[in-house]
């Protein structure tokens, strides 16, 4: 589904990504972790072309992301993305947030888009809030709406960039529950997160990044029982004792 091959990216002399290679198969859930500044966000944004990269290749469902001939908008419409800061559109009601890309990008009818939006809103447990605005919801609620908004496009896979790290602790689980359910339904997911409980529960593989490199790319059990690199061991020790 997603193939990342020898991807490198630099800003001037500064290497953000160095020779990253991995893949995500259909229905697979991958967790990406690593210290701050290690390039996790950059890598995941390369997957839907929000960040350009200088060398290597990324193929999403048969389409090359780096190819200048690729219609990126069309590709992105099929790849859902959820951000750390939710990024709902503050001037639109929740229903409008859910419907706008369906109508403007997928050219669905208003009613169809509304129906679909409300169904997904119900699914994330927020039907009662349909007519509110993003600023009137809690962070956890906003993030659940953001997930519903991405799902409304019927994505072939979902990218998450630290979806819970801007949330108060008591709201983390409501978002993780939605993500867990999604994973169990077979959604292909690439999640940057430090929620190791989530990783243990649903991930198939864990990728550990450090200084722009993929240092570790293991089956979940291997990663948690005996990570190969010292760097990952240290990281795990720190994060699990938290």
């Amino acid at each position: 589904m997603i193939k990342i091959a020898n991807v490198s990216k630099h800003y001037g002399d500064f290497k953000v990504l160095t020779d990253c290679t991995t893949r995500v198969s259909k229905g697979e859930v991958i967790v990406v972790c690593g210290p701050s500044g290690s390039g996790k966000s950059t890598l995941i944004k390369c997957v839907n072309g929000l960040e350009p990269f200088q060398s290597g290749e990324i193929i999403v469902d048969g389409t090359s992301v780096g190819d200048p001939k690729t219609n990126l908008s069309k590709l992105r419409a099929r790849v859902g993305m959820v951000f750390q800061n939710f990024e709902l559109f503050p001037h639109m009601s929740i229903t409008e947030n859910l419907a706008i890309a369906q109508t403007k990008v997928l050219k669905r009818g208003k009613d169809e888009a509304m129906d679909k939006g409300l169904k997904l809103l119900d699914r994330v447990g927020l039907k009662a809030h349909a007519h509110k605005f993003p600023g009137q919801l809690s962070g956890g609620q906003q993030q659940r709406v953001a997930i519903a908004r991405a799902l409304a496009m019927d994505p072939i896979c979902m990218l998450f960039d630290e979806p819970t790290s801007a949330l108060d602790p008591e709201m983390v689980n409501e978002v993780l529950d939605v993500m867990t359910e999604l994973a169990q339904e077979g959604m292909t997911m690439m999640c940057v997160t430090h929620e190791m409980g989530f990783a243990k529960r649903v991930a198939h593989r864990v990728i550990f990044m450090d200084q722009g490199r993929i240092v570790e790319d293991d089956k979940k059990d291997v990663f948690f029982s005996n990570p190969r690199s010292e760097r990952a061991q240290q990281f795990l020790a720190k994060i699990l004792h938290h």
Partner: protein, 245 residues
């Protein structure tokens, strides 16, 4: 030597015979309004476009927009007005230039004033629009693009609606400025409010009444604009959204 107040002066028939001096003032008032409003509409449209261009990834477009803003913001308004009114007609191809110079002088004054005020103000509007766009969280653009919007769609549906809400207060003060700046156009003979005031002094020797009336008229315009813009601001306010100063 004491000043002879005479508020009745406005009701006296004017020197031109077919009107009162109040009629002169009203004509000036209307001219100021007509000039400022048309120039403002143009300035908003142009300024929005240029402000957006300053933020796009395309270097050539962004560079052009930067040059535009620097040009119209840094040359004094009065100099720009003289260029539009005196210099530009000379630079036109002879046939068009001559036809223009033979047209109604009032029309010439009005057109030069309108274009001058519109372009001068558009550069200032562009700066506000640009700063509004740049003050949006960067993730908003990414969120729009990630949903499959094209860049123009992302501007149209995601960034501009919020950016414009953020810049309504500074745009209000630009809107007020354009009325005040329009007084400069009296220097090329346009008979707007300030010019009528001065003419009234020449004919009636009642400077206090005349300029008090002019001043009150500008204040009245100010009050009306501010009231309307505050209403507008409240109407477009986003529920639950804080941070837009």
């Amino acid at each position: 030597m004491s000043y002879q107040w005479n508020w009745g002066v406005f009701l006296q028939p004017s020197a031109s015979g077919d009107d009162t001096y109040l009629g002169w003032m009203l004509a000036g008032f209307k001219m100021t309004i007509a000039l400022s409003l048309t120039a403002w509409v143009l300035a908003l449209l142009l300024g929005a476009l240029i402000g957006v261009l300053r933020t796009v990834p395309n270097k050539a477009l962004a560079g052009f927009a930067t040059g535009y803003v620097e040009l119209f913001r840094n040359v004094p308004l009065l100099v720009q007005l003289f260029i539009w009114y005196f210099v530009l007609p000379e630079l036109l191809p002879a046939s068009i230039g001559d036809a223009y110079k033979q047209s109604n002088p009032m029309l010439q004054q009005f057109l030069a004033s309108m274009v001058c005020l519109a372009l001068f103000t558009s550069a200032r509007v562009a700066e506000q629009v640009r700063s509004g766009i740049n003050s949006l969280p960067k993730g908003q653009k990414n969120a729009g693009l990630a949903l499959g919007f094209t860049l123009p769609q992302t501007y149209r549906f995601v960034m501009l609606p919020m950016a414009f809400r953020l810049v309504v207060p500074p745009l209000t003060s630009e809107f007020l400025n354009i009325f005040k700046n329009s007084a400069v156009c009296s220097t090329i003979g346009l008979m707007e409010l300030a010019a009528q005031g001065r003419q009234l002094v020449d004919y009636t020797a009642q400077p206090y009444e005349s300029f008090i009336a002019v001043t009150l008229s500008y204040i009245a315009i100010n009050v009306v604009v501010m009231t309307l813009m505050h209403k507008f601001e409240r109407r477009i306010a986003v529920p639950g959204y804080i941070g837009g100063k």
